[in-house]
Symmetry: C2
Subunit: 223 residues, 2 copies
């Protein structure tokens, strides 16, 4: 890409957008989708911010990283902004996803209806337990973990969710990487070591409680 | 508290610490606990950073928000830093926790062994399904949701985790608040409206996939 001089009003390169801004895009998207269900056609930055506990200036600043989406005297057109955010996030396309580890958490995620509507299609799951392999959960086939590399390659699966115990997570991640996975969401409470070109998002359920404890112990508002 | 003039080296007030720094404290804590299990007594900022994919400068800067923890020529003493981080996070004490919604996700969280060792003791769970109420899961009694306010008050439960469907989450949150809860971790994919003095951490499992999609679609390293 030509490194032309940018004006301050131009969108910035995705790699220069703070992670926290990207995570707020998910919140804006969810709120906009809720508004559309209520037949709302437009929303102002202050209405959108108020529903999520942010200021209107915050909303405008976040979106300005990616372009100009507001219309003078109208605000944001909900459907238009939904389309724009989905394009930005990369969820305007279908992603194929696999889940490794079909315990309680894995089952909860397989049954969660929200993924498909956001563009994430879980096409295969894996488990080390031979009693679990062979069944279907919500129509999703569960394979033996021994077949992981073959099946992920064959189905060209792009993203993986790891819900195995911490002690097995790195080995599963290595298998996913060798099968050509592009990104991993890791629910196991361990830090994974992956090649730099593989995306990684770690979810530690204890961390969320720790963040809450910090806020409550220090009497800090979390919004 | 006296608002004495602070030198740049003094710890800052908890409310002035960026959220992202607090979330990294959880990662440092987890890595330090892993090192102790391996009988390591000390660790340098660069070793600690390397294990988590951060620079040594990042580690030192994050910890400097809270005080001086390093020892010249030694680095950090693992046990000492664990104690300090737990005090900072507020997890050096026991927190009583309840879980509302005993579906797959609720069950996964009830069975998760990590909470108790981090100071979070789940003492009661609630479910709207009369077939689920009355049982014990991992020794934790499951009550009918109708008894929520009474039981939470009686047991003086401090923190709540909400794992009910989105349509019921606000109502459950209102009940928890009226029962005197101090903070909520919300797993339902909806934004809750709570009084400012009640802590709130929202966990949206789709958001994690969206963050990963953004990174993969834009070929951005996530570390």
């Amino acid at each position: 890409m030509a490194s032309a001089r940018r004006s301050k009003l131009d969108p910035v390169a995705p790699r220069d957008v703070p992670t926290v801004v990207v995570s707020r895009l998910s919140l804006y998207l969810r709120e906009l989708q809720r508004l559309v269900l209520e037949d709302r056609a437009t929303v102002s930055s202050s209405q959108l911010g108020k529903a999520l506990g942010f200021t209107d200036a915050q909303v405008r600043k976040d979106l300005a990283y990616f372009g100009h989406f507001g219309h003078p005297g109208v605000g944001y057109r909900c459907e238009e902004l939904i389309g724009a955010i989905r394009r930005i996030l990369g969820t305007d396309r279908q992603w194929t996803v696999t889940m490794v580890g079909v315990g309680n958490l894995g089952r909860a995620l397989l049954r969660y209806k929200g993924f498909a509507s956001k563009g994430f299609r879980i096409v295969a799951a894996f488990d080390a337990d031979p009693h679990v392999a062979g069944v279907k959960i919500e129509g999703i086939p569960v394979y033996s973990q021994q077949r992981l590399v073959d099946v992920v390659r064959q189905l060209r699966i792009q993203l993986g969710m790891i819900t195995v115990p911490a002690s097995q997570a790195q080995q599963v991640a290595d298998q996913l990487v060798s099968a050509g996975i592009e990104g991993i969401v890791n629910f196991a409470p361990v830090t994974l070591s992956l090649p730099a070109e593989v995306g990684l998002v770690g979810v530690d359920l204890t961390t969320e409680l720790e963040q809450l404890a910090f806020a409550v112990a220090n009497r800090i508002g979390t919004r």
